[in-house]
């Protein structure tokens, strides 16, 4: 693009000012405050329009107001330019009215062809130049370098170089941008490692609230647990109360039934008692009658029975003994009657015996000698003695009989063995004597004599025995009589108080009295039984009364009172229907206890439930939490966006460096060589993004920071020019507006600069603004006829 002319109607201090610049190097030499900057602003304004807006915080006017003509002149202008394609355009703007007209070379209005900006009108410059205003401004307008003024200026310049190098724009500092993002992330969001940044504060508050919420939720849950427990206990209580009601009703029915039963039982008992009372009376009567028998004792009866028995026996024995005595007497008498008397015997046998003796003394001791007691007889005799001894000791009535039998056996055995052992005699004088004696005695022979003798002896023995027996029998009778007397005495003694005690009645009496005594005792036993029975019935009745009194709730009732009370109850009919259910007092008590315990537990729970969690507190915490979470989300989103911006920025910066810096360095190298007359030939950038210049002299790479101020200026200029070249690669060659670019240069540098600009002017239009006459002179010297001088109005 080349500007071919302008007509400023009114713009800032410039009014009614026309000019036609040259296609190459144009120099505007004018003192300060003469409108150089205003002209630059006009060109910008014509291309990109002027923005409105409010007065800035530092008091600066918005552009539309800043350049309003002071004297109320038309606030308008015209600019003409030609593009590299040869197309020409004429732009007319009225800044006051806000109108813009564009005409092509055929004077056709074409402003409608372009996209319209509300405030600045058609955006034809973006289209024709391929740059927005900001890019245009920062690219084609080179202001004064400040490096020589102070250290701050030098640093600013180095920064601009660095910016250009890293971002392609001197005003865009990557490090500052990254720093801004990081600072915003730290200050406005937080990094999670601090406690005072917004996100960290929010997170801490969220954490605290969440803990508080959890705590309250636990309390609430415990409250609900207690509530549930109370609810369950209420259900259980209702169940138990229902059970209690049913049991009490059942108990009541059972009470009624029981009372009826008690009443019936008591009636039965009373009836029983009455019956027993009557029985007792009868027994009493009978006892009275049989009282006499009461004096008897079983021992007495036994003794009496024994006495009576003994008496009977003794009587029997007496009778027997009497009979035996008579027999014996008769027997003895009989025997005595049949027995020769001893005198007769002796008379009859004396001689015989004498004869026998005579005979015997001659035969010597022999077979007819002595005859000892045979042993069986001896034994029997001993036995007899033993029995007699026993009888004497024991007085048993049978013992005498046994003695007699033993005696008889003794005698029998003795006689038997003794009689069989008689010796055989020979005839001798003695024998003759004997025979004589025998015959005189009337015996035919000795045998007969012996027989007679034996017989007589036997008889005599028998008589003796009989006599003995008789004696014994008499003795026995005496004994019996004595025993009888003793018994009678005993009887009398025993039955002294027994009237009608007749021993002679004997067993019958005993029997009668025994029966009477038994009867008496039976009556006594009956009486006792009756009394016991009555006592038992009375006890039972007492128990029933107590039970009834308990059931009626009136303890301590007497029987009569109880009967009265039972009679007073309605519906007390005996129900014989069997009950399947029962309930005991213990069951009711247990249930009551359980109900009471449950009520206490429920009261405790209810009291605990009074401490209900404060209403609405959870909601408030949740609401605050929601708000904080929303805030956190926003902060996190912001943080994420800041991080993303940083990430993309670094990526693009890398890309820019990769794509842009080599090209920039290449372009820069050209300009550096020109500006420094070959002192520095190459510009490069290391990984640390340092700009380095190579010096052919030293073959060293020198960082820009180590260069002199003037050289830094040159580097900056070279970089700016290189940047413009790179910008143009996209489209239209751009004019350059250089405002005092060599203000810090020495003359040699100025000349080099102009030489470089002269070469540059071949490819683009250059507007060089200066207030130094020396520069004008040098420019004229270097440029020669190529130079076009543009005057500013006074």
């Amino acid at each position: 693009m080349r500007i071919t002319g302008w007509d400023i109607k009114g713009f800032g201090r410039l009014k009614q000012y026309k000019a036609v610049p040259g296609p190459g190097f144009n120099i505007i030499y004018a003192p300060n405050e003469s409108g150089k900057s205003t002209l630059q602003a006009f060109i910008r304004a014509m291309l990109y329009g002027l923005k409105g807006g409010r007065i800035g915080k530092d008091g600066t006017l918005p552009p539309i107001k800043r350049y309003k003509p002071w004297n109320g002149e038309n606030y308008a202008g015209v600019l003409e330019y030609t593009l590299a394609s040869g197309e020409s355009f004429r732009v007319g703007r009225n800044f006051e009215k806000g109108t813009t007209n564009i005409y092509d070379s055929g004077a056709n209005p074409i402003h409608q062809r372009f996209t319209q900006d509300k405030s600045t009108g058609p955006r034809f410059a973006e289209e024709h130049l391929g740059l927005d205003e900001a890019t245009f401004e920062r690219s084609v307008f080179l202001g004064q370098m400040q490096s020589a003024v102070d250290e701050a200026g030098r640093r600013a310049l180095i920064e601009k170089i660095a910016n250009l190098n890293t971002t392609g724009s001197e005003d865009q500092s990557l490090s500052r941008a990254i720093g801004a993002l990081e600072e915003a992330l730290l200050e406005r969001v937080g990094t999670g490692r601090s406690s005072t940044r917004p996100l960290d504060k929010v997170n801490m508050r969220i954490k605290a609230l969440e803990e508080q919420y959890q705590e309250l939720a636990k309390i609430s849950e415990r409250y609900l647990d207690s509530f549930r427990e109370l609810h369950e206990k209420k259900k259980l209580l209702a169940q138990w109360l229902d059970e209690k009601t049913k049991k009490e009703a059942l108990a009541s029915r059972l009470h009624v039934k029981r009372l009826a039963m008690i009443k019936k039982e008591m009636e039965d008992l009373s009836q029983g008692l009455d019956e027993k009372e009557r029985a007792l009376e009868a027994v009493h009567e009978a006892l009275k009658k049989a009282e006499i028998y009461g004096r008897l004792t079983p021992e007495g009866m036994t003794q009496a029975a024994l006495i009576a028995h003994d008496m009977n026996r003794i009587k029997e024995e007496l009778a027997q003994a009497g009979a035996a005595l008579e027999e014996l007497t008769a027997e003895k008498t009989g025997l005595e009657a049949s027995l020769d008397s001893e005198e007769s015997f002796i008379r009859r046998t004396g001689d015989i015996e004498e004869a026998l003796k005579q005979a015997a003394s001659q035969s010597g001791p022999g077979a007819s000698g002595k005859r000892g007691m045979p042993i069986p007889a001896l034994v029997a005799g001993c036995l007899t003695l033993a029995v007699l001894g026993l009888w004497l000791m024991l007085k048993h009535p049978l013992l005498p009989v046994a003695a007699m039998l033993a005696l008889a056996a003794t005698l029998f055995l003795w006689l038997r063995t003794g009689a069989g052992k008689a010796a055989s005699p020979s005839i001798s004088p003695q024998t003759q004597a004997l025979n004589k004696a025998l015959s005189q005695a009337g015996f035919m022979g000795l045998d007969q004599y012996m027989e007679y003798k034996e017989a007589w002896q036997k008889e005599r023995v028998a008589v003796e025995a009989a006599g003995k027996k008789l004696t014994e029998a008499r003795n026995r009778l005496k004994e019996l009589e004595a025993a009888k007397t003793a018994l009678e005495d005993s009887w009398r003694g025993l039955t002294a108080s027994w009237p009608h005690a007749r021993m002679e009645e004997g067993e019958a009496f005993i029997q009668r009295w025994r029966e009477g005594m038994d009867n008496y005792h039976q009556l006594s036993a009956s009486k006792k039984a009756i009394l016991d029975g009555m006592a038992h019935l009375t006890d039972k009745r007492r128990v029933l009364v107590r039970e009834a009194a308990g059931l009626l709730g009136k303890p301590g009732l007497t029987y009569e009172e109880c009967c009265e009370a039972l009679d007073g109850l309605d519906g007390l009919a005996l129900d014989e229907t069997p009950w399947e259910e029962t309930v005991t007092e213990d069951e009711l008590k247990d249930l009551e206890q359980r109900i009471n315990s449950l009520n206490l537990e429920m009261a405790a729970l209810t009291a605990r439930l009074e401490q209900a969690p404060r209403e609405g507190e959870l909601s408030r915490i949740l609401e605050e939490l929601e708000g904080l979470r929303e805030k956190r989300k926003k902060l996190e989103r912001t943080g994420a966006a800041l991080n993303l911006a940083k990430e993309i920025l670094l990526e693009t910066a890398k890309q820019v460096r990769r794509d842009y810096i080599p090209a920039l360095n290449e372009e820069m190298s050209f300009f550096i060589g020109q500006l420094t007359s070959g002192k520095y030939t190459r510009a490069s950038t290391n990984d640390a993004l340092q700009v380095l210049l190579s010096s052919p002299e030293t073959e060293a790479l020198v960082p820009v920071e180590r260069l002199s101020t003037g050289t830094i200026d040159q580097v900056y200029l070279a970089m700016r020019l290189a940047a413009v070249r790179l910008l143009e690669k996209r489209g239209e060659p751009l004019p350059l507006f250089l405002d005092e670019p060599f203000s810090q240069y020495d003359e040699a540098r100025i000349i080099n600069g102009f030489k470089m600009l002269k070469a540059l002017a071949d490819e683009r239009q250059i507007f060089f603004f200066t207030c130094r006459e020396r520069e004008l002179q040098l420019a004229q010297k270097v440029m020669g006829p190529q130079l076009v001088r543009i005057e500013l109005p006074d």
């Binding site: 409010r54 740059l131 927005d132 971002t167 392609g168 209900a612 909601s619 989103r637 800041l642 910066a653």
Partner: protein
């Protein structure tokens, strides 16, 4: 069976917390609004002599409901002469300490739990089966346990859950309309979604929505449904009509301030948004969007406008104004940065056209746009200013 009328509502959310940060007792006022909306439903049931009332879940917030709330609820439910059927939702599930289990509900209230899922109204010949929640999250229900519909009865299935949504990871008893239709019930009383859903007034699968809206994502008019059941020769005919119950209406508004040159212009725009709205009824949240060079203080703006409003909030989500079109042509890093972001934005737009997660993609887009603003501001100004979350 004579004609019947019943009321169907759901998602009342008694004692719900309110996310929007209102001032003073705003949240309490809103909770009272919920109660009023619910009372409106009960009054409608009484006035229309409804045969019964269905509440398809989320009647209250289990964790936030107190004994006092239950006392109030008991009192108002017992005033309704008709039977009331409730299924537990994911906010009031039938868990260990559920108020459904702990409370002595009035005799006309029937809670359909997993243990007792059904009820029969013999006189009206109505069979109701409920599929509620017994945990805060619950997977797909086993529909094979749902008994077949009874002949000559009005068969109603109450379900709290999501309908026709992607099942992967879905934790709120997901079902499909197809599955429900296969059960051949006459009416499906649904609950869970807060926005009402019914294809038309004759559809048998209805989400009545929350009777009182609960957030700015629940704009529009809210209410419940009254359903009339007519017996016709061809069968049962159901007609469902929605009635309003909401005390408030949420108005989320997005206002693009791009191009506005002054605060006054912004205020005028705000006034325009508010025109026609009722400060006592309408809850307004205006989000300023777009790009502007103005420093808009949302707190200041909110304070300026919210004086008579129960809730009015102005949020500033504007971004700095940049001539992005021109910047894309900048050869320097600024231009590269803008181009890089644009490239990513274009990729996102493409992804949005494909089957991506729209929410995640929208968030990523927002993040990129914000990154763009921050990056440009950092590059241009060397600092980020003009916003603060505090």
């Amino acid at each position: 069976m004579k004609s019947l009328r019943f009321i169907h509502c759901a998602d009342i959310h008694l004692e719900a917390p309110f996310r929007e940060q209102g001032t003073g007792s705003y949240a309490e006022t809103r909770r009272m609004d919920i109660r009023k909306a619910f009372l409106h439903i009960l009054k409608t049931a009484r006035d229309q002599k409804a045969d019964f009332l269905l509440i398809s879940g989320d009647l209250f917030e289990q964790d936030l409901t107190t004994k006092r709330t239950m006392e109030w609820l008991s009192m108002v439910l017992s005033d309704v002469d008709a039977p009331i059927f409730i299924i537990p939702g994911n906010h009031d599930p039938f868990v260990k300490n559920s108020w459904y289990a702990l409370w002595d509900w009035p005799p006309n209230v029937h809670i359909l739990t997993p243990q007792n899922p059904q009820y029969i109204l013999e006189e009206q010949r109505v069979f109701i089966y409920g599929l509620g929640f017994s945990a805060y999250k619950q997977g797909k229900p086993d529909l094979s346990h749902v008994p077949p519909p009874r002949k000559d009865y009005l068969n109603i299935l109450m379900v709290h859950g999501t309908l026709d949504m992607d099942f992967s990871g879905e934790a709120y008893q997901p079902v499909t309309s197809r599955e429900l239709a296969a059960l051949n019930y006459d009416y499906y009383a649904l609950g869970h979604f807060h926005q009402p859903r019914a294809e038309d007034s004759t559809t048998s699968m209805i989400y009545p929505g929350s009777p009182e809206p609960l957030g700015f994502d629940e704009s529009g008019i809210h209410g419940a449904y009254g359903v009339t059941v007519l017996r016709e020769p061809s069968g049962l005919r159901l007609k469902a009509e929605r009635f309003e119950t909401a005390q408030r209406v949420y108005h989320p508004v997005s206002l693009d301030v791009t191009g506005l040159k002054s605060l006054e212009e912004v205020k005028m725009k705000l006034l325009g948004v508010l025109e026609g709205l009722n400060p006592q009824r309408d809850l307004v949240q205006i989000t300023l969007k777009g790009r502007t060079a103005m420093d808009l203080d949302e707190k200041l703006l909110t304070a300026l406008f919210s004086e008579d409003w129960l809730f009015l909030q102005i949020r500033n989500e504007t971004q700095k104004a940049f001539d992005l079109e021109a910047l894309t042509r900048d050869p320097a890093v600024k231009g590269s940065f803008v181009r890089a972001i644009n490239k990513r934005l274009e990729a996102l737009d493409e992804a949005m056209k494909m089957e991506g997660d729209p929410k995640a993609l929208a968030e990523e887009k927002e993040r990129l746009e914000l990154a763009l603003s921050f990056g440009l501001e950092a590059l241009c100004n060397g600092k980020i200013e003009g916003w603060s979350e505090e």
